[in-house]
Symmetry: D2
Subunit: 243 residues, 4 copies
């Protein structure tokens, strides 16, 4: 079983009627709902409004994949929580950052760059093209899929050169954006996925759900531990890696 934790800022849904009308129980609930239909996945959720953001070391130790959505309150996540998340990724926890989580503390800590991008609140439609059709994350997706409305993100996206670009978005307003990016940091796999503005029902769209579900399975670790880097007297003083 893959143990998923869906973390959501959950601010817009409580403060904006428009957003509440799309996600009355929060974005996290919609994501949890479609993931829970999978036989190999179990889901927990946490939000900014839980104690300590709902994140503890014990919970992260029992999490295989953490999904993160945040936007307007990145700074309210304590530095210690962000570092705890980063360290769990180093150990092997898989991580999926959604949409505006590009500016979240854990993402910026893991990337080492500003993670800025150009944006427009718009009524653009977006066509997301599959760049790597043989990758497990794009399985089940045709050559492309379309979102009738999505916030426009534009390049440059100041992240390190990704290991792979899986998807590129074409916005009707003229922009492009690298919409699906893979990284590894320590033992952990990271997937950044651009769609998911709070005012649109993006997470209810089957292609989006397919990609997130595929990504959960792809970034889930086969095992997890801190990479040991011992101070050794000679090379035969070695410590085994594998538990």
């Amino acid at each position: 079983m893959i143990r998923v934790l869906v973390w959501n800022e959950f601010k817009h849904e409580q403060e904006s009627k428009k957003v509440a009308s799309v996600y009355p129980n929060g974005i996290h609930s919609v994501i949890a709902e479609f993931l829970e239909k999978e036989k190999d996945i179990v889901v927990k959720t946490a939000t900014l409004y839980d104690e300590n953001c709902g994140i503890t070391k014990e919970l992260l130790d029992a999490t295989d994949v953490l999904i993160w959505w945040g936007h307007a309150a990145h700074e309210r996540v304590p530095d210690e929580v962000a570092k705890m998340v980063r360290d769990a990724v180093h150990e092997g926890m898989g991580m999926i950052f959604l949409h505006s989580a590009h500016h979240s503390k854990p993402f910026r800590l893991l990337m080492g760059t500003p993670c800025n991008l150009t944006w427009r609140e718009s009524c653009d439609s977006e066509i997301l093209w599959v760049i790597d059709p043989s990758h497990p994350i794009t399985r089940g997706i045709d050559r492309y899929f379309k979102l009738d409305a999505e916030e426009t993100y534009g390049e440059p996206f100041s992240v390190p050169n990704p290991d792979k670009v899986l998807l590129i978005g074409n916005y009707s307003g003229g922009e492009v954006f690298r919409s699906g990016l893979l990284y590894e940091r320590g033992n952990g796999k990271i997937f950044y996925f651009q769609p998911g503005h709070e005012t649109f029902p993006t997470f209810k769209i089957p292609a989006v759900q397919t990609i997130i579900t595929n990504a959960v399975r792809f970034v889930a670790p086969s095992y997890r531990q801190v990479i040991p880097c011992p101070n050794v007297r000679k090379i035969t003083d070695n410590m085994p890696y594998v538990i």
Copy 2:
């Protein structure tokens, strides 16, 4: 001085009135013309209609950067010429492949993949976005530039994962394409650049000329030689790399 050789298939210009009206003296002449304005660049041209395609070992030895445009007659370039070009890149010769040269023999030999892509002859306009604004090849280009008409190329583009994606194109018809890609093979640098359909005056557009000129300087080798891989009896039997 950077010694550039512009190679052009030169078939469409001689067989199509439409193309001849855009490039009466051939695509190679237009490219040579704007490059020759640069004080650090000298240019020669060659076409499919020259003896042995205009390519000899001696000429390649005296070429720092080879620019290649081909489309309808890739197979008329002899395998021996394609291998000679490949080997010159391995030694350090820089190479720029333009537009439909994605299917040229030298490009496919260097990539090791089919280099297929999806395409449409269209009247799409294209906006090319700068992904890496700090790269020497995109210097002098704003956030993007626009081509009023260009043949539509689409993903997937079956090339190896590039070292860098410098540009991504957004077509008005909805496609995206990784329009500026960097590779290294042996000692040689390779730049693939998507614009340049023969029926449009793409190579007369300043932004396109800027990028090709920048690319010439970027892929030009600082030195050139075959990498020696000696059979040695012990490591002190070494051969020096540097001439």
Copy 3:
């Protein structure tokens, strides 16, 4: 079930008493033997001495992972066979190149570079260090493993910059070598693994067997097909990727 085809040149074993004493039934037999112990793997073998090198389109279509060992008779593999292997990799067939197969025709076709390296026939011992302990291919391997005798390979190894370096070898004579390299070409995954000189019983060593077995599972495709790149009139004329 993962369908593995082990291809071996099988020349040294028949011509050299020394090699025959180590691999009396050929290197392919030893590799087949340890792979056949795995419940999820079925194995066939082929050699240069079979008709058409033992390679047919039908056989490749029914092969998930092709393992290749060659050394002294690379040129006797017909170009058509080498291209057939390359094309199968593009479709998704996984491929493992062992030791001197760095100079085999299929490897050079897939890499697009000379694939030269420095070498010494020696009695060096080699320590192979795990660079990426979280990768599935290095699972079950400690921080390093040691080979009492192996032919010395040295850098530079003129291959494209690999997607990942999984192992680096330290030779007692002083050289280093990137001993485990990952690539993708088209839909296919490729693993190059340096150990395996014909005069040493390298393929009988448990750590070597573990890595090859892990690699079989890693490069095996989840599905297989040619990537379609249709000529479309408009983007809705799309063809589905997924069968």
Copy 4:
């Protein structure tokens, strides 16, 4: 002129007689001395013992390349200084991290990983092999160079997969280490170079000086600015990149 700032912790030289005997005026003085011989380079130095570590925003704004050596007092560099250095790299400042600076705050901030490695204080000798002989940083270096004594660093080195591995070290005790690594973060280029333990006269060795001098020229920015990521109403509301 390339404006270099050499930052040195300068603790060992003042506290250890052994180190002081090798670097009586500090490691920074030796590095500054050989760089100042170059006609295109001007050098300043700073140490932990200067006010605010000798680092100000104004100084970084006037620095093209920052070289960093630190070991025993990484934590005494204030977080604000480390972030200031990181941000200058994002803008385009080049950066060279030497030896134990792998654990410095700016390096860890830029990498996003623990940057741990295995190590032994030893009397190992080290042979550093050139992996990429065509790269500007390895120009003037033969196939390898040897250090009679150097602290042993071992893999795994928990850094992100580098853009390029330029050098790999072979230690007489049996380890290997990726000794020359290239990264980009934002507009800035980063070179990590492993040699330089404080008890050995490593920085007085010509090959080491050649590599550091080459690296200064390679990581120096052609221009420098924050990448603008504007919030635009439509794409024509663009801001120019190039000053």
